[in-house]
Each structure stands twice: as structure tokens, then as C-alpha cells.
């Protein structure tokens, strides 16, 4: 019964009886493990990206340090410790040193809200809602396989990605150099623009899961969906559009190709971290790749059911969810590298147009449509078993009418702006 109450409260059962020494030790062990896992995953991700890109470009890639060059990142990291750390005369000393912290720490913290394991298969069974009970010789406490489960988990992710903008902005500004300044204003404008689209596509998730806690969102996606075969994952339930918007916005948020205008080498040398050398540069690099890993994990959590998947062999039942999670994560990491190897970089105006004039209106319209569908579905439940009830058809009609009016308004606004600019003969 206690387990059920905990599930309803959506809180990690570890903390329900206060914070004792035992709890503290478990927390510390979890923190240290996820810290280590993050660092190792970044190490592997950098190697994986270099190796995969070189495969796609018909090169060999790193192959000296360790088997298949797998230790290349470690070697690079150690090398950077021994490199001279320069700080330009014109820089602002305090902010220059502060910026790497502001980039790195949010990258670490985002990972805290991601459930990486636990059996979520049955919401009605308290033992199958992601709770892991340690064996008796380890204290017998039960907990989630996720570092923290605050009730506003996804807001924590949004907050961290906002703080990361400060890291980028201040790094460029404090360098006292031209290219970093340009790179950082570009980066901040790009990141805040796409954060709006990101936030709107997230709202559709909350429509379905009715919770901001990542654990609840994963638990909500458990069970079978349509026809009993298709999973009840948010990517399908919300109708693919929010996922596509989220994937594009996430790529832009990460400043990864094809949205890597921040460090467009031909124009801006290295972007906002041009003036950073040695280990300070390594921190930015680390944060960048760590964000790639954590944002992929966020996508798996929010859209692809997190660690959900069939348990094929009961012997190591606790291991299967982790394996499924890693498999889904890997798909996204591969996708990001694939983007980089395949797609040419956007132009800045194309980037801004895509963010503001395409993604934001689309996700806003989709959000309204889903909210309307849910409300109509509650008010007039579809009991006669047909696929399209009259109410749903009426709703569809109203939705299409509203969306058409919105699209026309937006189109005429864009035309209007273009005509105005031509009249003013603005040239760049």
C-alpha cells in the first residue's frame, strides 16, 4: 500500500521516511555512479562521433590510442591538462573564468532527472512502476533508477538549458575579442529562439501525461497502445509532429550541425570559445557532448517510453530496461552524428525563419488541436466504437478552420514584412 501512495505522489520512495544516513549513502553512490557514467559516455560519444563521421567520409579516423582508438578522447583530455592556459589581456578576468562553470554544471545536472532503468510495464502493480528494491545485504531500501525525481522535473531541464545560454553568452562577451562576441550573440539568439519551439512541443507531452515529473511521464507511457502491438509512447500518442519539432529544436539547442552557426569556422574561427585554451576549452567541449548525450536521453524519456521494453529473460530482469534505454539512446546519438555527416549548414536567416515562422506556429497549432481533442473526447466519449464520431469530425472541421485562419494571417504578415523591406530598400 505504501508503494501505491508513493506512486500516486510521484516521488522517489527513497526520501519518504526522511533523510537518514542510509539514504544519504545511497544518494552519494548514485551521484558518483551517474557522474562517472556521464564522463565515460562523453568520452565514448566523442570517439563514436569521430569514428562514424570518418567512416561516412571514407577515412579511418582515430586508431592509435587503445583498441580502435577508443581511448583517443582520454588522450586528448590528458594532453589538454598540459597545455598553456591563455587569457587575453582584453578579457574580463572573473567572467572569463566563470563561463566554463556555467556551461559545464547545467550539462551535468540535466542528467539527474532521467530514469535510466526500472520496470515500468504495469502501472497498477506497485512493484512495476520503476521502483528498484535493493537486496537485503545492501540495506533493502527501494528507490528509482534515476538520480532525482522532482515534481517539476522537466522544468529543471528547461531551466538548465537556459542557464547554459549564460555560459555561452558570457564566454563570448568576456573574451574581449571580436569573433567570440559575434559567435556568442549568434548562439544566444539561436538558443533562445529554439527554446520557445522546444517548450511548446513539450506542452503536448504534458497534455498526455498530465505531469511534469519525468518518472510520471515514463510511467504514463507504459502499457500497450493501439491494436495492442503499437507501444503507447508519446511519440505516437502526440502524433509525431511534436517529436519532429523537438528533434529539430534540440539539434539547434545543442548547436550541432546543421545548426552549428555558432562555430561556423569560415566566419567566426571557433565561435564563442575561440579565446579559450587548455582545460578551459576542454570544459566547453565536455559540456557540448554531455548535452548531446543528455538531450538524447531526454528525448528517449519523453517520447520513447524511457526504459520501456520487453523483458526477454527473467534471470536479470533489472538489466533489460537499462539495455532498452541504452539502445534507444544509441539510436539518437547515431542520428545526431548522421546529421552532422550529411546536412550542410543553414544560413542565419534560414535558421531564424525556421525557428520562429515554422516551428513555433506548427507546435502552437498542434498543441491546440490535441487539447481540443482531449476535451471533446472527455465531454462526448466515443462509445459506439466507430473510428470517427460526429463530434470528432466537427472538432476536425473547427481545427482546420482555425489553423487555416492562423496560417493565412501569418502568411500575409510575412508578405507584408517582405514588401515593407523592399520599399525601404534595406540592403545588407
Amino acid at each position: 500500500m505504501a508503494g501505491l501512495t508513493n506512486t500516486l505522489a510521484g516521488l522517489d520512495p527513497l526520501f519518504l521516511n526522511g533523510v537518514t544516513l542510509e539514504v544519504l549513502i545511497i544518494v552519494l553512490v548514485k551521484v558518483v555512479i551517474s557522474f562517472g557514467v556521464l564522463l565515460v559516455s562523453v568520452m565514448l560519444m566523442v570517439w563514436f562521433e569521430r569514428k562514424l563521421v570518418s567512416d561516412m567520409q571514407n577515412r579511418i579516423g582515430p586508431n592509435r590510442a587503445g583498441p580502435w582508438g577508443i581511448l583517443q578522447t582520454l588522450a586528448d583530455g590528458i594532453k589538454l591538462f598540459f597545455k598553456e592556459d591563455l587569457q587575453p589581456d582584453s578579457s574580463d578576468p572573473f567572467v572569463f573564468k566563470l563561463a566554463p562553470y556555467l556551461s559545464l554544471i547545467p550539462a551535468f545536472l540535466t542528467f539527474a532527472i532521467i530514469p535510466i532503468g526500472g520496470n515500468f510495464s504495469d502501472p497498477s502493480d506497485p512493484s512495476k512502476t520503476g521502483i528498484i528494491t535493493l537486496p537485503d545485504w545492501l540495506g533493502g531500501e527501494s528507490t528509482y533508477l534515476q538520480l532525482a525525481d522532482p515534481p517539476v522535473g522537466v522544468l529543471l531541464f528547461l531551466a538548465m538549458s537556459s542557464i547554459a545560454v549564460y555560459g555561452v553568452m558570457l564566454a563570448g562577451w568576456a573574451s574581449g575579442s571580436k569573433y567570440p562576441l559575434l559567435g556568442s550573440v549568434r548562439a544566444s539568439a539561436q538558443m533562445v529562439s529554439y527554446e520557445a519551439a522546444l517548450g511548446l512541443s513539450l506542452a503536448t507531452i504534458f497534455l498526455q501525461s498530465r505531469s511534469l515529473s519525468t518518472h510520471d511521464i515514463v510511467a504514463d507511457q507504459a502499457g500497450a497502445g493501439w491494436l495492442g502491438i503499437i507501444p503507447h509512447w508519446n511519440v505516437i500518442v502526440t502524433g509525431f509532429v511534436p517529436f519532429v519539432v523537438f528533434l529539430i529544436a534540440a539539434t539547434a539547442e545543442l548547436n550541432r550541425p546543421p545548426f552549428d552557426l555558432v562555430e561556423a569556422e569560415q566566419e567566426l574561427v571557433g565561435g564563442f570559445h575561440t579565446e579559450y585554451s587548455s582545460i578551459r576549452f576542454a570544459m566547453f567541449f565536455l559540456a557540448e557532448f554531455m548535452n548531446t548525450v543528455t538531450l538524447s536521453a531526454i528525448m528517449v524519456t519523453l517520447f520513447f517510453g524511457g526504459p520501456a521494453g520487453p523483458i526477454l529473460w527473467d534471470g536479470v530482469a533489472w538489466l533489460w530496461p537499462i539495455l532498452w534505454f541504452l539502445l534507444k539512446l544509441f539510436v539518437f546519438l547515431f542520428t545526431f552524428v548522421w546529421f552532422r555527416a550529411t546536412l550542410p549548414r543553414f544560413r542565419y536567416d534560414q535558421l531564424m525563419d525556421l525557428g520562429w515562422k515554422v516551428l513555433i506556429p506548427i507546435s502552437l497549432g498542434w498543441f491546440l488541436f490535441l487539447a481540443g481533442r482531449n476535451v471533446v473526447d472527455d465531454r462526448w466519449p466515443n462509445t459506439n466504437g466507430s473510428l470517427f464520431s460526429v463530434e470528432v469530425l466537427i472538432l476536425l472541421g473547427i481545427t482546420i478552420a482555425i489553423l487555416t485562419v492562423g496560417a493565412l494571417l501569418l502568411y500575409s504578415a510575412i508578405r507584408n514584412a517582405a514588401e515593407k523591406r523592399e520599399l525601404e530598400e534595406v540592403t545588407f
Partner: protein, 167 residues
Amino acid sequence: MESTLGQYLPVFALLVLAALFASLSFGASRLLAPRRPNDKKLAPYECGIIPAKDTPERFPVRFFLIAMIFIVFDIEIIFFYPYAIIHRGLGMFGLIALLIFTAAVFESFVYLVSNGALDWGPIKKARLLSPAVSAERTTTSTVRKVGLEGRYVPPTSPMPDAPEEAA
């Protein structure tokens, strides 16, 4: 309530660990790395060119505009979240309220777009033929010469000769 705050304990622990990791790395680098600064190393990096001007303290106002628009939109988006969480309880009333709210958000968005606040870069529907490139493409019109000859001169300019006449 205590249990709710307890959820943040691991986040805080991870924050401390990450900060410790970063500062220890900087400390280690301070011990291990050589320090041989000179004027050239400490100058702003500009691909080897000696900087002719100082770094500007201003940047294009467009970026600033984006930041302000973002703040407005972000707050509006945050208002969607509580609605999304409890929209099933609010029913039709909530949906209509949401529609009115969205209309207000969208209206301001359309206003911004129509005033060109979100326009960047070159004009999209640019004049098909810029005066700098004549329709008759001859060597005199396509091969650039030193000086203003053959180039487009704005009408207000004191230079009297128009591009075609010069050719």
C-alpha cells in the same frame, strides 16, 4: 513537504561534485601547464592579423530584439504548462479560455512578424536584376575594373555617370 525537498538532494550533490570536478581540473591545469605568456599570445585572436580596431562594445540591435521577444514568448509558453496538466478537469471552459489566450499570443506574434522584427539577412523577394549586373552580359559589364567605372552608383552620389553610359 520534507520529502518533496528531499528530491533535490541528489541534484545538489551532483552540482557540488560537478563544481568540484571543474575547479580541480582548473587547479591541476594550473600546476601542470607551462606559463610562458607573451604579448602576441595575449592579444585577441584574429587569425594572425594585428587588430586594427578594438572589440566593439555594441552588437546589432536585432539580437537584443530577439532576446526581448523571447522573454515575452517564454512566459506565455510557461502559462500553457499548468493548463496542460489540468486541462481535463477544466473541460470546455478551459479550452475556450485557452483559445482566447492563444489568440492574444498569436496576434502579438503576427504583429511582430508583419513589422519585420524577425526578418534577417537579404531581402527574400529581391529585385531580379540588381543594377550592378546589367541584362546584357558583356565583358564590359561582367569584368570588374578598378575604380567606380562599370559599377552601380547610387543616384544621390555626386558621380554623374550611370553604369550603362560608362560602358
